[in-house]
């Protein structure tokens, strides 16, 4: 016997577990945004879901806009733009790219890096996850390193098959130099450290 309660529960389970269904209505959007904005953002979320693109960054972008007091139009633009960048990131990084890679890629594009850099990174390191290299590339640019210099440094590391830890070490070196007041344009700051003779024991 199907009571209203059981029907509601079934609907909920269907939403959550039916493959290929629309993305479930995100209650955060309807709770925090006005109806029109929530609907507009939900449409983008549904499109992303249908395309196999990450949806959570889109929801977070809308919530960020609401908290920052942005107008409905500005929120919608930001979400639309992010959707576009996620799609562009996937074109550059390939269909095998994970959600975190795509999100990082979208962030890199927003920072002013071009899709070509992402494509080159993918070509050099296609068999390993790219989230950390992309994140480091983005952070270097955010710290003020010229994009082409940052790109060269990161691609060098990728070309030499270096590990994620070494990308993070590069970023740390640049940050430290910046805090000491060295100019970001100084070559030695961004040049990767000479590769060690052998990986130290216990390194990933």
């Amino acid at each position: 016997m199907s009571t209203p309660r059981t029907l509601a529960l079934r609907a909920v389970w269907l939403l959550a577990f039916a493959p290929g269904a629309l993305a479930a209505q995100d209650h955060r959007l309807t709770e925090r945004l006005d109806a029109a904005t929530a609907e507009g953002v939900q449409r983008v979320v549904d499109s992303a879901h249908a395309e196999g693109l990450p949806t959570e960054p889109l929801v977070q972008k809308a919530l960020e806009g609401k908290t920052m007091g942005a107008t409905s139009g500005r929120i919608q633009s930001a979400v639309d733009a992010l959707f576009g960048r996620l799609a562009e990131a996937r074109a550059a990084l390939g269909r095998d790219a994970s959600e975190t890679e795509l999100t990082a890629g979208a962030g890199a594009l927003r920072a002013g890096l071009d899709a070509g850099s992402l494509r080159q990174l993918h070509a050099l390191r296609s068999d390993e996850p790219l989230t950390v290299p992309i994140a480091v590339l983005t952070d270097l640019v955010a710290e003020g390193v010229p994009p082409d210099q940052a790109t060269r440094a990161v691609l060098d590391l990728a070309r030499n098959g270096r590990s994620d830890a070494e990308f993070m070490a590069l970023r740390k070196r640049v940050q430290t130099e910046r805090r000491r007041g060295a100019s970001a344009d100084a070559g030695p700051v961004v040049r990767p450290a000479a590769p060690p003779a052998a990986d130290p024991p216990g390194s990933p």
């Binding site: 389970w13 068999d127 390993e128």
Partner: protein, 221 residues
């Protein structure tokens, strides 16, 4: 009267010919259940359907049987996919809870295992892995460490494989584990992952090539 708990075996896989013992590594209880299956005492597939039906009637003990049946087998895949026991346990917990919540949607209860495994594969995809590994010696070893004498070399080999696996793209690692460790056919893998067969073949080949490349020196040394 409750039927006794039965542990499942890992199904035989198409493995390279150099590995000749198909039950290599199976725990004793699993081999026992395989014998009982062969003697026709009961069919493993019926057992799942019975346990699913009992669970839907409210018998949590039946669900406990299902968990005990699949925890280690599917947890094994999650462990290699994610690289550590902690994350694998979290994925199994999460997968069991989702399976329980959605049990009425399991359309073929006699294939509960395959249905649950699909959930596990999806959870492995969404769990964010640790990006840095904790390389304490022996941190995540299985219990059956080989006899002393070769212990150090075996340890190093195991860790090198884990490191090499971690360096693969997640989709390649997934394809490799499904094909070589779970022994699935490409058709089954396509159904599980949503990727087409040529893509999966490419991923398996790339993963195998990369693993060989990363592990050649350690293997030969």
């Amino acid at each position: 009267m409750r039927e006794p708990l039965v542990l499942s075996t890992q199904r035989d896989s198409p493995i390279p010919s150099s590995v000749t013992d198909p039950s290599h590594g199976s725990p004793p209880a699993a081999r026992l259940s395989q014998e009982r299956v062969e003697r026709g005492l009961f069919k493993v597939s019926d057992r799942d359907a019975v346990l699913v039906a009992r669970t839907l009637d409210g018998d949590l003990g039946a669900f406990a049987c299902l968990m005990a049946r699949y925890r280690d087998s599917f947890g094994h895949y999650a462990f290699h996919m994610l690289g550590n026991r902690e994350d694998a346990q979290e994925v199994m917990q999460d997968s069991f809870l989702r399976a329980y919540a959605a049990l009425r949607r399991c359309r073929q209860p006699d294939r509960f295992g395959a249905w649950l495994f699909r959930i596990v594969v999806n959870r492995c995809r969404t769990v964010r892995r640790r990006l840095h590994r904790d390389w304490r010696l022996g941190a995540d070893l299985p219990d059956n460490v080989p006899a002393a004498g070769d212990a150090a070399a075996a340890l190093e080999w195991r860790e090198e494989i884990a490191r090499a696996l971690a360096r693969l793209r997640p989709r390649y690692r997934e394809a490799f584990l499904l094909r070589y460790v779970r022994g699935l056919e490409y058709r089954e893998m396509a159904d599980l992952t949503g990727a087409n067969e040529p893509t999966l073949r490419m991923r398996v080949k790339r993963a195998a090539d990369r693993l060989r490349e990363l592990l050649q020196d350690v293997h030969d040394g």
